[in-house]
């Protein structure tokens, strides 16, 4: 479209700057999320062909439950990655918050309802500490701080529970990991609710916009009055809080917990976020993509598990998928469909 030029009152050249985005089918369909949808469909089709047990509701339902626990952390991790940071302490946070919860309940006689709240609070507190350290010591990056707290938080969990596992939760606590509402797993319902909330916060609020701005240019954001420190602290606290949520589900699914649970969860979570189109280079990504990515990796592992592929082959396949999925958008498409 040619810009119109005209003269204003003072005789200056005046431009008309367009403020409506034209809807373009091309850009719409060149979104990364379509690619993910295609991969997800491919995974489902291949799984159905490979295993007769895959494509039926009970199987999909139970399969979904097996991988959703850590998926809660993907959303705040996406935010952290958009901020060009990384949080590798989330696995340890899961361990610590579940261990504290179990200890509160079993050793200190705290009612389970309160213990659950404490679990979430401990998670959030771990995240808050990460955030505060990162903001106070800017010379250290988030990797350094969370590498330290990763070891520390798990260490505290060991100090608390030593070599014991702690369980004996009340019957109803099993509902988190094993319960159904109208035949739909409770964890799935909660996952979708959390996904929607995070999606809205990240894409529809000023808070989300500011996160993207910080990811693209933290200095300019600060100069533009974005409260960069506050936002960082909130995002890391959210990561901790969601680790607390994961801790609940994990403890519920295992009926107990131990200091060594959720080992290396952070890498799984980062892989899901990356597959979902969240760039660790910052400033880019959508929640929708991460949701699809969670299901891609989850169903891939589940489906291949149903035909009893050995774990080592699974490692190779997941690694290759990650490379494939991240590479495809970089392949030079013919110019007529290349994205801008």
């Amino acid at each position: 479209m040619e810009p119109q030029t005209l003269l204003d009152d003072n005789g200056y050249l005046k431009r008309n700057i367009i403020d409506k985005k034209e809807f373009s089918l091309k850009t719409f369909f060149l979104q990364w999320e379509w690619m993910l949808v295609i991969i997800l469909l491919a995974v489902i089709v291949i799984n159905s062909l490979l295993s007769p047990y895959f494509l039926n509701y009970p199987s999909l339902r139970d399969g979904t439950v097996t991988f959703l626990d850590k998926a809660f952390i993907v959303f705040p991790m996406a935010m952290v990655m958009i901020l060009r940071d990384i949080d590798i302490s989330v696995g340890s946070t899961v361990a610590l918050s579940s261990v504290v919860m179990a200890t509160m309940y079993n050793s200190l006689g705290v009612p389970m309802e309160l213990a659950i709240i404490i679990c979430l609070a401990v998670g959030a507190l771990c995240g808050l500490i990460n955030g505060l350290l990162i903001v106070k010591f800017k010379e250290l990056s988030a990797v350094i701080v969370t590498l330290g707290t990763m070891i520390l938080y798990r260490g505290i969990a060991y100090v608390i529970l030593e070599d014991q596992s702690s369980g004996n939760f009340p019957e109803w606590f099993g509902f988190f990991g094993w319960g159904y509402v109208f035949g739909i797993p409770f964890i799935l319902i909660l996952f979708i609710i959390v996904a929607v909330i995070f999606g809205i916060v990240l894409h529809k609020t000023t808070f989300g916009r500011q996160i993207f701005a910080m990811g693209k240019n933290p200095t300019a954001s600060r100069f533009s009055g974005v409260k960069v420190d506050k936002i960082k602290i909130i995002v890391f606290t959210l990561a901790g809080l969601m680790a607390g949520v994961t801790a609940l589900f994990l403890a519920s699914r295992m009926g107990s917990t131990r200091p060594n649970v959720a080992n290396m969860y952070e890498l799984d979570v980062i892989a899901m976020a990356a597959l979902g189109g969240i760039s660790t280079a910052g400033g880019k990504g959508k929640i929708l993509g991460t949701v699809i990515a969670v299901f891609i990796i989850g169903y891939l592992q589940y489906g291949l598990g149903l035909i009893n592929i050995p774990a080592q082959t699974l490692l190779i396949i997941v690694g290759a998928l990650l490379i494939f999925a991240v590479t495809v958008p970089k392949i030079k498409l013919p110019s007529f469909i290349r994205r801008k």
Binding site: L152, R154, V159, L267, I316, K330
Partner: protein, 345 residues
């Protein structure tokens, strides 16, 4: 900053030398870390007198040698704003292949074996480098994926079996246990690597270009530096060092397993960042990285010596790492502030 290089080329006037030496000490950014290590050592020594015995120091240095070799490679990568999560798997794959080779060809020359492991590692590193420089994948993602793939391949080629010490010829095991000039081979190899890398990053163009690419990739392009080549180089070098470490690891422990060095990449990265290498790229010095490795080596050595409850070890390790980086930061800040105070306004 080639500060160390500067210090090596004395100024014309003696007076200026003094001034720059003094400034050099202030400029030594890892002062806090060094101080921390010294204080920590004294405290440990007070609790267990065998800590600073020759034998223990020798054990400690030997056990830290492999870590420090890997940390230097990781430093190069961090300087270019990258990261390599696949090195644990590279160690495993190279260790496993080399162990399988020597168990079949018992009379292979140790140098050939070392070379073989290094080459295997370089191939792995080159794959990372290729994905990152040619396909433009982000380092964390590419190496995360390759971490899985290399590990999976290691399990596949081993078929779940381990290669045990009875299958390894004496010559191979002595790579790590033998001595040269009375010094353990691991230490000798580590020192050779330090010197090579020191020379490379401070005295060759390519070395400086590594810093340039990390400091400002865009202007590196404008200066005609081939970023892709540099990235390819650092990942290949890292792979080579990991491959070498794989040989040393297997030789040292006289056993090759599929899960060798699983998760070791985080220890290596911890050593680098303790040593003041910036994750944001562009800066990092050998002296710092060696200090960082030493601190981790001390922790690994001293916690068992101090009879610390196993349940407290992880927590103590985490707190010390955190405290060390924070102390180092505070000291740096203090030094900077001091420099500012002395500036005339």
């Amino acid at each position: 900053m080639p500060e160390s290089a500067i210090e090596n080329t004395p100024q014309v006037e003696t007076k200026e030398v003094k001034v720059s030496k003094l400034a050099g000490i202030y400029k030594f950014r890892e002062l806090g870390l060094l101080g921390f290590i010294i204080i920590l050592s004294i405290l440990i020594q007070l609790r267990n007198p065998s800590f600073l015995s020759i034998e223990n120091i020798n054990d400690m240095v030997t056990n830290t040698a492999i870590l420090s070799i890997l940390a230097l490679g990781m430093m190069l990568i961090l300087i270019t704003r990258g990261i390599d999560l696949s090195i644990g798997s590279t160690i495993a794959i190279s260790g496993m292949l080399v162990a399988q080779t020597v168990s079949t060809y018992q009379h292979l020359n140790p140098f050939v074996v070392i070379l073989l492991g290094t080459v295997i590692g370089m191939v792995c590193g080159a794959v990372n480098g290729f994905l990152i420089s040619k396909w433009g994948l982000l380092p964390i993602i590419a190496t995360l994926a390759m971490m899985n793939i290399f590990r999976g391949i290691t399990y596949k080629i081993s078929g779940g079996e381990w290669i045990s010490s009875y299958q390894m010829p004496e010559g191979f095991v002595s790579i790590a246990t033998g001595k040269t000039l009375g010094i353990n081979n691991l230490i000798v190899i580590a020192i050779i690597i330090y010197l090579l890398i020191y020379y490379m990053i401070n005295h060759t163009r390519t070395g400086r270009q590594i810093y340039a690419v990390g400091s400002n990739p865009d202007s590196a392009k404008v200066s005609g530096i081939k970023e892709g080549r540099i990235l390819m180089l650092v990942y290949t070098v890292m792979g080579g060092l990991a491959g070498l470490s794989g040989v040393l690891w297997v030789s040292k422990f006289a056993s090759a397993q599929g899960d060798t060095a699983s998760g070791y990449e985080l220890t290596v990265i911890a050593a680098c960042i303790l040593g003041g290498v910036s994750i944001a790229g562009g800066s990092g010095k050998i002296a710092g990285v060696i200090l960082g490795s030493v601190l981790i080596g001390i922790l690994n050595n001293a916690l068992p010596l101090l009879n610390v409850s196993p349940f407290w070890q992880t927590g103590i390790q985490g707190s010390i790492i955190l405290v060390a980086v924070i102390v180092n930061t505070l000291v740096k800040r203090g030094v900077d502030r001091n420099n500012l105070m002395r500036r005339k306004i």
